[in-house]
Amino acid sequence: MSALLSIQKMSHYFGGLKAVSDFTFDVPEGVIYGLIGPNGSGKTTTFNLITGIYAPTEGKIFFDGKDITGHKPFRIVQGGIARTFQNLRIFGNLSVVDNIRVARHYTVKSGFFTSILRLPSFRKEEEEIREDAMQLIKMMHLEDRALDNAKNLPYGALRRLEIARALATKPKLVLLDEPAAGMNPKETEELMGLIRRVRDEFKVTVFLIEHHMKLVMNVCERVKVIDFGETIAEGAPQDVGKDPKVLEAYLGRGGAEC
């Protein structure tokens, strides 16, 4: 297994606050990789650094063998990293199918004039994009709501829509930022199956942040635990779950003993 995403000595400061400190880790190709840690431990910052929303203060990020440190977000997405957001960022006033079609846009070849004149090549391409989007919608079981405005969908459906939108950019690596946040146990159960299916059917690597321990222990094949911007454990989920430092970070000093 070669490393798809490789982060080397990455640090990020917000003024004097060390949000991420000296991270070095590899995400191997084809795995479901989990990043866990208490609130404020720098998980979302890590995602923001990988997707180019912030440039790291120090260190390098390599993706697929190429240095992507400091690239603009849309270039990074076009290079093959897609993500979802902890607090949903759906295009609320667009229909479900349009939400997904937006993510396919960067592959569109029809130029400006071809589009406004609606030439045959444009129509053909639109048809292809629509079919692709409908396939993703079917996979996420959203076909009944395909033409509704996205803002009218229930919460669980929006989570699935965001994953579908991320997949529409044809990524190699999908970053999921707390995919189970706000979901009930049944929805979480379905999500676990979905994450596995996404990995198997789309041949992507999944890198997720999660608080939900059951989900992480069940789905992830490799886990990294961070606290206050520093790595405290890394390895298979079963081993990490027993690590005293991890228990301490999550439950406090007394918790580890009882």
Partner: protein
Amino acid sequence: MGNFKLPRLLIVAVIFFIVVTVLSLDQVYILNGYFMVIINRCMIFVILASSLNLINGITGQFSLGHMGFAAVGAYVSGTITTLLLKLPPPPPGFAISGSMFIFVVAILVGGISAAFVGFLIGFPSLRLKGDYLAIVTLGFGEIIRTILNNIDYVGGPRGLLGIPKFSNFTSIWAFTLLTIVLLRNLVQSSHGRAMLSIRENELASELCGIDTTRYKVMGFVVGAFFAGVAGGLLAHLLQIAHPTQYGFLPSCLVLIMVYAGGMGSMTGSILAAFCLTFLTEGLRVGIDALPVFTFGATTFRIGTEWVMVIYSVLLVLIMLFRTEGIMGMREAKLLIIEEKKK
């Protein structure tokens, strides 16, 4: 292409054209010259409002100087046609088609100049997130007015005079229809969806692989182009281009049309352009008819400047009671391109 149907939009536009033409015929004469000028102004404002809608409503940016681009279009095309008229006249057979050709080219050159100015303004200010565009376009509107006031070649404060009357109902109608069709096609294409996604959530749009700066600039430049076209049409209708026609207040008028019609709805922009242009004229006539009040030695007269006050009140009322405008974000069926059902 067995079941080819004429687009309903075209049918409605042609019916509108025939009805107005018939009513304005000398034998019928229900619509006199005065009404025709208002209808022509309405259509020009349809172009202005729906192009501003592309910037403010679709792409979600905030431009305050739309009339500045109209000024560029008006002065450039007006200068071209007045200069060409001074050339020796063409041979008799070519006279009419030749002047029509010159007119269309002049309008398009005006539009392209406005688009170019739009690019110069939009590119630096749209790279930033936030309200910088509003500040820059507000400044631009004033700058262009001041510049025009001080260039003697285009008449300075007298305005550019002697522009040939090339605009008529037919040509304005054709340009308006073309604008509506092209803008509709743009909005309902992949490029248009990219612009809409920027309005909805700029960060998410960027993380869907969209070069947001590029699409913000594209929306802005296309909007500026059509504003330039509208300015050219207006100049050739009124036969004058004057700096005060393109100041801040007219820009606000177009902005009010977009908001009153509903941000992001072209149908709304078109409706509002018609309603508000008629309302302006109605108020002007109505206010002129008001008597002059006298209190002792002082006379108090309500002038046409009160039109803008009434507009502001109208805008406040819209904000209070119908925040989303006449149409909200809905679009009339006429303007929606149908997709095959799956």
